[in-house]
């Protein structure tokens, strides 16, 4: 087992990792930029070293500084957390070269899943359902018609160089195809200088349902069931829950199996998540794999009663997994609280927290690095706390979350707590009849 782990991260996840290390009697090294000198993870670690100025590129993203810090503190492993370098294949590789254990997958596995096209192909070969689509770019109208018939309408055409919804058109009937392709090409050329288009099946009423997996160093993998993360704003998750209100035992079994196949196909070591899109008919399609621990991991931890960080460390230390799968025993919801002003289009609101009272009580977990008097630096992401409620039923988990959020006092900065309180009251949320498109048409009531 490792003697000392360096946490190459900051904020609440750094604290999360330090907590598990303490329970496992592993010494911890915190790294911090000058902007994070007063941060909680610095105070809770056994040792702390300053690795650079506030800019992430010069501190938390600097492989040189992180490895140097590990070298001078004699750390034998590095936990990358999420974000930053956690999915950087090169970082996994240099750790390996320098003989420091990277707590996560191999550079090969990260690379295999990092490129969208490669990942899709790898999953398809492993028997994981992928979103049906054209093989490369659309050459002509005739070819496009053929692909669409093969996939089945409705289809969506997307710009290959694209993003942000530009150069995208949904087509319901063949008669619409020609005009849609022409206008998409024009928009793509104008937005990206590249009018290349490809086609995919359009997933109707898509839900974002992801499966947590763990793989060990011996080729075994298991799943820990799903999280529903469909409540998203501009592709940022705001609320996650497990089990998914849309899930059935049969669907869970199929998705779990597919996720395990995917993990084994890339020789995945560590904790990871396979994200799927699930349509209204309960067909599921591989979207992407996150080769790291995720922000919303506490949701799974609470419904299964499992420490996922401990599992990551054990797997990295060479301990094999049992291969057992895990199923939710409770219902949990997580709200990501950000320092943003919901009445000003979620504009970030950094600053000093003058008063803080965290929620507590039965069924409430709060993962946070903030404290009264803490100044939220403007250089990093705006998430300041995760509130997780756990109960026996979804209704009770919602009630507990509402109660907890109404106790959560933060003064000095604006937070997204008002948004969460409104969403928890929303009839579609309560009925479980929402998908990833829901927040596009939802507005914050006054």
């Amino acid at each position: 087992m490792f003697k000392k782990i360096l946490i190459a991260n900051r904020g609440e996840i750094a604290l999360r990792i330090i907590r598990t290390c303490k329970e496992m009697n592993i010494k911890t090294v915190a790294v911090f930029s000058t902007a994070d000198r007063e941060s909680l993870h610095v105070r809770f670690a056994d040792e702390a070293v300053c690795i650079g100025p506030p800019r992430s590129a010069d501190s938390y993203l600097s492989m040189k500084n992180l490895l140097s810090a590990a070298e001078i503190t004699n750390a034998d492993a590095i936990h990358p957390g999420y974000g930053f370098l956690s999915e950087n294949a090169q970082f996994s590789e240099v750790c390996r070269e320098y003989g420091i254990k990277f707590i996560g997958p191999s550079p090969e596995a990260i690379r295999a899943m990092g490129d969208k096209a490669t990942a899709k192909e790898t999953m398809r070969k492993a028997g994981v359902p992928v979103v049906p689509g054209s093989d490369g770019l659309l050459e002509s109208l005739e070819q496009a018609k053929g692909v669409a018939v093969e996939i089945g309408y409705p289809v969506i055409i997307k710009a290959t160089a694209g993003g942000g919804g530009k150069g995208m058109r949904v087509i319901w009937k063949e008669e619409e195809l020609e005009d849609a392709m022409d206008s998409a090409r024009r928009e793509a050329a104008a937005s990206f200088g590249n009018d290349g288009l490809y086609m995919e099946k359009f997933i109707e009423e898509p839900r974002h349902i992801e499966i947590q997996i763990v793989g060990d160093q011996y080729g075994k993998a298991c799943h820990l069931s799903e999280r529903d993360c469909s409540i998203q704003r501009r592709h940022q998750k705001l609320i996650e829950e497990s089990p998914s209100p849309f899930m059935t035992d049969e669907l869970r079994q199929k998705m779990g199996e597919a996720a395990i196949q995917g993990a084994i196909a890339v020789g995945y070591e560590g904790a990871g998540t396979i994200e799927f899109l699930v349509d209204k008919y309960r067909n599921f399609y591989f979207m992407e794999m996150n080769t790291r621990i995720q922000v919303e991991h506490p949701v799974t931890e609470e419904v299964i009663n499992y420490d996922l960080i401990k599992e990551q460390i054990k797997v990295a230390a060479g301990i094999p997994i049992s291969g057992k799968n895990y199923f939710p025993k409770m219902h949990a919801i997580e709200c990501r609280v950000n320092a943003e002003d919901v009445y000003q289009d979620f504009r970030p609101s950094p600053g000093r927290i003058t008063t803080l009272h965290l929620p507590g009580g039965h069924g409430v977990r709060v993962d946070t690095h903030i404290y009264s008097g803490y100044t939220i630096p403007p250089y990093y992401d705006s998430m300041i706390a995760k509130v997780i409620s756990v109960a026996q039923t979804r209704e009770e988990a919602i009630a507990t979350m509402e109660r907890a959020l109404s106790e959560f006092v933060v003064e000095g900065v604006k937070t997204t707590i008002p948004f969460h309180l409104k969403m928890l009251q929303d009839e579609n949320f309560r009925a479980g009849t929402f998908n990833t498109q829901y927040l596009n048409t939802w507005t914050m009531p006054e």
Partner: protein, 173 residues
């Protein structure tokens, strides 16, 4: 140094939050280290560590005021200190600090048998190489950010330093 002066020093260490005091005088060396993890309380009970006692002349030497030959005081932030407690001088009364622009291991010269780049009393020009900080087997020459005279060397050769850690005290005049 008599027992009363040692007791006073121990009390000073306990109250000040300082973690380590090393005192060297002619024929005498005393090291006091605060022990245990201290979180948010200034009350460390220091363990007095006296290394192999050097014969010292007690009563015949008139107890002097506390003006020892060389004192290195390490202070740490409230939680446990940085690795190997690299010595950080308290803010000096005059002069500027030259700080490390990176994390790594500090070397005073370009090789084990080479002369140090700079010594106390040397005049340095802005841009002049004053030390090396090594990271990942790469030896980075560190240049002075300003001109002046070196008044103190704050870090021992071959010890780890972190970003922004003061390395030299310099008199910019």
């Amino acid at each position: 140094m008599d027992i009363k002066e040692i007791q006073d020093l121990i009390r000073f260490v306990a109250k000040s939050g300082v973690t380590e005091v090393e005192l060297e005088k002619e024929g005498f060396k005393l090291v006091i280290k605060a022990s245990g993890t201290v979180q948010n309380s200034g009350h460390a009970t220091p363990a007095v560590v006296m290394p192999t006692p050097i014969a010292y002349a007690p009563a015949t030497v008139a107890p002097t005021a506390m003006a020892p030959a060389a004192v290195h005081v390490s202070s740490s932030p409230t939680p446990p200190s940085a690795p190997s407690a690299p010595a950080q001088a308290p803010v000096p009364s005059s002069g500027s600090l030259l700080k490390s622009p990176m994390i790594g291991t500090f070397y005073r010269s370009s090789g084990p048998d080479k002369d140090p780049f700079v010594k106390v009393g040397d005049r340095v020009e802005k841009g002049q190489v004053i030390c090396i900080v090594e990271a990942m087997k790469l030896f980075n020459e560190i240049e002075a950010e300003q001109s002046g005279t070196i008044t103190k060397v704050l870090v021992e050769n071959s010890t780890p330093v972190e970003y922004d850690q003061p390395l030299f005290e310099i008199d910019p005049s």
